[in-house]
């Protein structure tokens, strides 16, 4: 099927390039992991001991890593769950029901994709604070509980579902909510899964917004806690390396568990909106 496979020279080049990319992708993590287990007197360059788990203990006991991990799990699950739910709900009438104002709503949603959160953090912070969301985990969740991107992704998925299935359910007397739940959602599962995956990755990594909205240390999510550790343990950055290692493990495990959700073909629709 492919031209490259018929040219040994090119095949060799492809494998060599693959090795380069593997080294690039996992290389930086090696220093991080080694650094996390080294004791303070070890030399990082030599990637050698003495080894210790003290950095991890310190990250938990003094850096508040444990509570930060719990907060991150709560915020991430809430954000991802709400993103899928709210986007799937909103996408249904946009894809399937006809009503006055549908085009206007669609354009409004389209317009919000062009509002970068980074340039509106000040008023967003004031609005969230006005709603009592300052220094609350809910404050890290609610403003980002739905995205226009998610609505598009779900709308695309719904548009691709044949109408006869809904009509059959309709004739059987199912209401809109019932059709949405038992016909549309199961058939849109690949897109919903992709949206969930992206939401989890985004929420787990988010630094700017939690940094602004969370104030108390016991409310910090992992990125905010790690950010604080960089200053707190300025003389022994290995504590922050240990925390970083612990921050990657859950997300990598999660990703490897659901990697089959990641289908390149879904990206075509995702970018075309």
């Amino acid at each position: 099927m492919n031209a490259t496979t018929r040219h040994p020279g090119w095949t060799m080049a492809a494998y060599a390039a693959a090795v380069f990319f593997i080294v690039l992708a996992i290389g930086p993590a090696i220093w991080l992991v080694v650094g996390a287990f080294q004791s303070t007197e070890a030399d990082l360059n030599t990637l050698s001991g003495p080894w210790t788990t003290r950095n991890f203990e310190e990250a938990v006991s003094e850096g508040g890593l444990g509570i930060a991990a719990i907060n991150s799990v709560i915020v991430t699950l809430a954000r991802a769950g709400l993103n899928v739910l709210l986007a799937a709900l909103a996408a249904y009438p946009l894809a399937r029901l006809s009503f006055r104002g549908r085009d206007a709503v669609f354009i409004l949603v389209l317009a919000t994709t062009m509002i970068p959160e980074q340039v509106i953090v000040v008023p967003m912070f004031k609005i969230a604070a006005g709603l009592g969301l300052y220094d609350a985990l809910a404050g890290a969740v609610i403003p980002f509980s739905v995205s226009a991107f998610g609505i598009f992704l779900c709308r695309q998925a719904f548009l691709a579902i044949p109408r006869d299935l809904e009509e059959a359910a309709w004739i059987d007397g199912a209401g809109s909510l019932r059709i949405w739940w038992s016909v549309m959602l199961p058939l849109a599962m690949p897109s919903l899964a992709l949206l969930a995956l992206f939401s989890v990755i985004g929420a787990w990594s988010d630094l700017l917004w939690p940094l602004i909205i969370l104030q108390s240390e016991h409310k910090f999510t992992l990125p905010v806690a790690i950010n604080r550790m960089l200053d707190l343990f300025a003389t022994n950055p290995r504590v922050a390396y240990a925390a970083s290692v612990l921050a990657i493990v859950p997300i990598v495990v999660f990703f490897l568990a659901v990697q089959r959700w990641l289908k390149p073909e879904l990206f075509g629709g995702a970018v075309k909106g």
Partner: protein, 294 residues
């Protein structure tokens, strides 16, 4: 189809309500407020007070702001790097080598890595005294008196360092989009070109690349928008570097949350917003164009 229209008039709005509430309050509301506050003197310590165009006038004469915006444009250089890396990775996976699927998963791992973790890991590689990169440089160019670059402290290398993190974290994502694009390249055309005597390079140059043009344009625009919005990479990778050596968003963050100058930060936000909007409009045009073709 006509039967589907028979729903209660409120039904669509009930489905839409939660999403519209969140987007309306936090995004549309903030977008309106950012413009409003930009015309006020407003600090963490005093309520907004209308001052007309004062904030904009102050910005225009603020050299730090212009340097930050200039750096945002320099940061756009990450786009070609991302394009080359992600296209190369996609082509390797698509070339039919063994282990293509595991490779795809492996190269997506940087995408799932939290940016702050990626930045900390790269700080080790970029460490000026002992980092791998400078060790390599002094090994290769030590004879010429070059024994290292000040990746974490000297402008503009600091920008390049943050860009490395952006490229590392991003290429796997764009690789997936390229893989989606490569699926649309008709294999019959590739085979026909190969039969006509085109080598792998010829097939790539004359068949694959032309059909990937819409994907390339799209990725260029999306990654440019992301580059203009960058924060985490600079905030962590080149921690402590003065704001005028960083980009637009760190400038806004510093103004608002370090100095408490909310009004001025909003004016800067509006300017950056306008710059990003140009790219967003191009993106919108491209994606609606794409829909018409599809």
């Amino acid at each position: 189809m006509s039967t589907l229209r028979m729903h209660q008039p409120l039904t669509p709005w009930l489905f839409l309500a939660p999403a519209l509430l969140v987007l309306g309050v936090f995004f549309v509301g903030s977008a309106i407020q950012v413009v409003h506050y930009s015309f006020t003197r407003y600090s963490a310590f005093a309520p907004p007070e209308y001052v007309g165009l004062d904030n904009y006038a102050a910005l225009l004469s603020d050299r730090i702001f212009w340097r930050a915006i200039g750096n945002s444009f320099i940061y756009l250089l990450v786009t070609p790097v991302l394009l080359v890396l992600s296209l190369a990775a996609a082509l390797i996976i698509d070339s039919g080598i063994r282990g293509g699927k595991p490779l795809r998963i492996l190269l997506f791992l940087p995408v799932v890595t939290p940016t702050i973790v990626a930045a900390i890991a790269w700080r080790l590689v970029l460490n000026e005294d002992s980092g791998l990169l400078n060790q390599g440089i002094s090994l290769l160019f030590g004879w010429a008196g070059v024994d290292g670059i000040r990746w974490l402290t000297e402008h503009p290398y600091t920008l390049f360092s943050a860009m490395m993190v952006t490229a590392w974290k991003g290429f796997g994502f764009y690789m997936m989009i390229f893989l989606a694009g490569l699926m649309l390249v008709p294999s019959s055309t590739k085979e026909a070109a190969a039969i006509d005597g085109a080598g792998p390079w010829g097939v790539f140059r004359h068949v694959t690349l032309p059909s990937l043009r819409p994907t390339i344009t799209l990725i260029a625009v999306i990654s440019s928008i992301s580059a203009l919005k960058v924060f985490d990479e600079l905030f962590v990778t080149v921690r402590g570097v003065p704001v005028d050596q960083q980009t637009g968003v760190p400038y806004i963050y510093d103004l608002a949350f370090e100095q408490g100058a909310f009004g001025a930060a909003c004016a800067a936000g509006v300017v950056l917003f306008a710059i990003i909007l140009v790219f967003s409009l191009i993106n919108l045009r491209l994606s609606s164009g794409g829909k018409e073709r599809a």
